[in-house]
Symmetry: C2
Subunit: 225 residues, 2 copies
């Protein structure tokens, strides 16, 4: 069994059995949902299908997610939550746009992007997904807003709600734009070259924001494929 030493609990990580079970169930659900998406295509399977595949009851599914969409969107949520964590790790006195750029670039690794890329690829041609995916991005926007407000609280004019709202929204929009362009260009390609392009797109997108979209050809050199 587990070790019997008197734990000092230095770390804030006491994953009890219950929590582990819940996490496992949650994971089983999203895995099952993704697998059904692969095999049957978007919109061609039900909550019951997912529950069966995950080895739980229909009712339990709804204890975790409110719809099939929500189960799949948890992939997007997972990705964006990581982005927020990265953002919070940046020094508080760094300019927001630089922090955002750094946080996004840090996320451009295969491990984090792969599930998202597959999800995008599988749901590209059907608008059946959009609902909950948009919500995931908006949820992330709200969190960027919170971070930005905390940071700017002390600075002159930092109380300006419009500034903070507009900034958070634009950051998200530009991040989304970079992702979208990348998916359109590369599909599910996760090679180092492709990921380097994603990083460059994210950098360019933030640069566009920082330069006020001044010139149709952005100053920082873009790839020339």
């Amino acid at each position: 069994m587990t070790d019997l030493l008197p734990q000092h609990d230095d770390e804030p990580a006491p994953p009890s059995r219950r929590e582990l079970n819940k996490a496992a169930t949650r994971q089983a659900i999203t895995d099952a949902a993704l697998e059904l998406l692969r095999s049957k295509g978007p919109g061609n399977f039900t909550v019951e299908d997912i529950a069966d595949a995950a080895g739980i009851s229909r009712r339990t599914f709804f204890n975790y997610f409110s719809s099939t969409d929500a189960a799949l969107a948890s992939i997007v949520h997972g990705f964006l939550d990581k982005a927020i964590i990265q953002l919070r790790l940046r020094p508080a006195d760094e300019p927001m746009l630089e922090s955002a750029q750094a946080a996004l670039v840090a996320l451009a690794d295969p491990k984090a992007v792969a599930p998202l890329a597959e999800l995008f690829t599988l749901t590209q041609q059907s608008p059946l997904m959009s609902h909950t995916e948009l919500e995931a991005w908006d949820h992330c926007r709200a969190q960027v807003f919170t971070v930005a407000r905390e940071r700017l609280a002390g600075t002159p004019g930092g109380q300006d709600e419009l500034y903070v709202h507009a900034l958070a929204g634009s950051i998200i929009s530009c991040g989304k734009a970079a992702m979208e362009v990348w998916f359109n260009r590369r599909g599910p390609d996760l090679t180092p070259a492709s990921l380097a392009e994603l990083r460059q797109l994210l950098i360019d997108a933030m640069a566009l924001l920082a330069t006020g979209f001044n010139t149709p050809a952005p100053p920082s050199a873009t790839r020339s494929s």
Copy 2:
């Protein structure tokens, strides 16, 4: 019946009986939905309630909208569609940000804003609405994207997908931000002073975008209430 003169069809406006009926039904549905929202609150009425109030069958409701949310979101759609029309009226060689600003400011009149303001007020405290409303904004974003792409097609670097996507998304985000701040400050207030503030917020939001969010205190003077 209609006039019997040999129509030359100079104008693109032959509103037939059928079209009028459809428009009327559509309007009756959204009116009924809004009235139920007022009286019962968000989430406390069904499609059947709306259909009864609008004097149509439940089934017919679904011929027009796919959900109660969608019926209400048609108000948002209506508003944003007007914005796109305004945007298309701007000269094609005007900078996008200026066009967007002008289009949005043109929309800040009581007639256009009133339904939106009421909808926002009624759904503020409940996230029950978000789904379809987010979709409406995203639909508008896609249209801004189209306009921007058409305009920039000839300009140097205008082929840059990233630029166009990021620009369209940011414009929408900033418009949304201005609206949100305004609703938060003023609620359903439609007085000239309040609308003037909305206009100023929209102008400021676009200015933030144009100046790359350079200074936490935007250069153009904001209201000082």
